[in-house]
Amino acid sequence: MENRTFEIPIGPVHPALKEQIRFTFQVEGERIVGVDIKPGFAHRGIEFMGMHRNLIQVLYLAERICGICSISHPIALIQAVENAAGIEVPPRAQYIRVIVAELERIHSHLLWAGVAAHELGFDTLLHLTWKVREKVLDILEELTGNRVNYAIPIYGGVRRDISPEQYPRVREMIRYYRGLFEELCDRFLNDASVEARTRDVGVLEPEEAEELCAVGPTARASGLRKDVRQDWPYLVYGDLGVKAITPEDYGLETRGDVYDRIVVRLLEVGQSLSIIERCLEEMPEGEITSIPKIPALLAQLKKAEGEGIGRHEAPRGEVIHYVRLEAGVEAPVVWKVKAPTYSNLLSWYPMFEDQEIADIPIVTASIDPCICCLDRVHIVRGRSEQVMWKEELLKLSWEKTRKIVMGNG
């Protein structure tokens, strides 16, 4: 029989990304033979808005680029502006930025792990990881006053100090996660059905990762030791001796599949715990901001002339901001933002190649935390149109897991 190719558009509602996205898959039977990606449904024109506002307002916009990495964008923006305007940052403020950034990494990776479990049909594991995730949100709320959008960094420092009474609570959290860490790893990595669904699925070869400019855990799971914290040690990361993590650090051979991405993210949770612990020990006393008064800060920024780049390793990879300031203009003349998914977008093409439709949810989620997964799927067959909602697609994924479990047992 002649092979016929069908097209399946998925999306555009896909809230895990800055962009809500639409995939159009070409399938032959169950096999994916091609994919086209169209982002832009959540395009709010943030850079355009930012180029018409003063820099303090831009900070709030940067925080709202992504609600999951709501400190990563401000950290990159602030470094860019500080470089351009020549503002110094007190050491204590640098440590506080690192602590909040690492807390964010823990919450983001746990969030992702839960979502990945959900895509595979393990809702028990979703609820377990999200239950333990609340602990880090409590600490974030304790330190910053908010569960999401922490509003901690400001040009020249941070807004809030960490008081001595808060140290033991953060340490208690570290102990809590260390106690759970082995169990979490065991649940995810030693489960036969998780392994069956993620091993050799959505593979990204190291050469492809390098050529397509992949970043973050996506690149590291393919064996590339790339981590901005290690390669370009900004803030105090150089002092902390951060090393990029690949699956080899867990004693596994790197295959660049979805399983490896789970390994890398779980190990990074442990790494972030150690970073926070060291920061608490090494953090010097002192000022938390070099220009405490906002009007003075705005006046200095208005006078500033120059350009700068700020980078940060967000939970999902490299964030980079470029800012150009001109004297007498309150708004940045140029503000360019790059989010990690922007770089990882192209990695999806090789990952989807030759996969099954039932693997779409987990492969999609594997580069990036994904909450409600795919909105709906249209299967276009000749003239008749069959609409497949997200639920049905998830059902397909779950059925595949069930078949595997039954086959094993």
């Binding site: 962009e19 832009g40 390669d231 105090v236 977008l345």
Partner: protein, 175 residues
Amino acid sequence: MRAKDVLAALEEALADRLRDSEIRTRTVGVRSPRTIEEVWGRIDREVLLKAVQTLKDLGPLHISIISGRDLGEEIELLYHFTVGFGTEDGEVLVTLRLSVPKSDLVVPSLCGILPGAQTTEREKIEFLGVKFEGIPDSRHLFLPEDMEVHPWRVDEPELQGLVKRKVKWEERDGE
């Protein structure tokens, strides 16, 4: 990899087509301070591909983003690369800027050398109206397919029509 090696390689390959080049360093860290280095330079579009090939020969090359700006008569593009991406404490940020006149907005595409540049090049097509010669896919990425205005250009009279002004709080008070 150090910034001076990168700059030397670029100078050797491009000679006088590389202008205003400089190395910017910054000291970071508290306990054991170290420097991170950036290379900045201006090139002509004719030598863009040669410059990128030179950088690629130095080690793993990564393109972060292309940023751009409308200067009135011409468009300035800034290519932000990292050379030695993935080498511990040895990454150099390289920013190459080039200007293209609005009358001839064509730049060679990097996709042949660095396929990962496609996303950011497609973004520049829709936001600044720049054409990339040899890009495999030039459709709109973030903006709707039927949107013809380029939001980062200053000469877009239709843009203001699309912008919904501020919410008029006074009028909404009575609701």
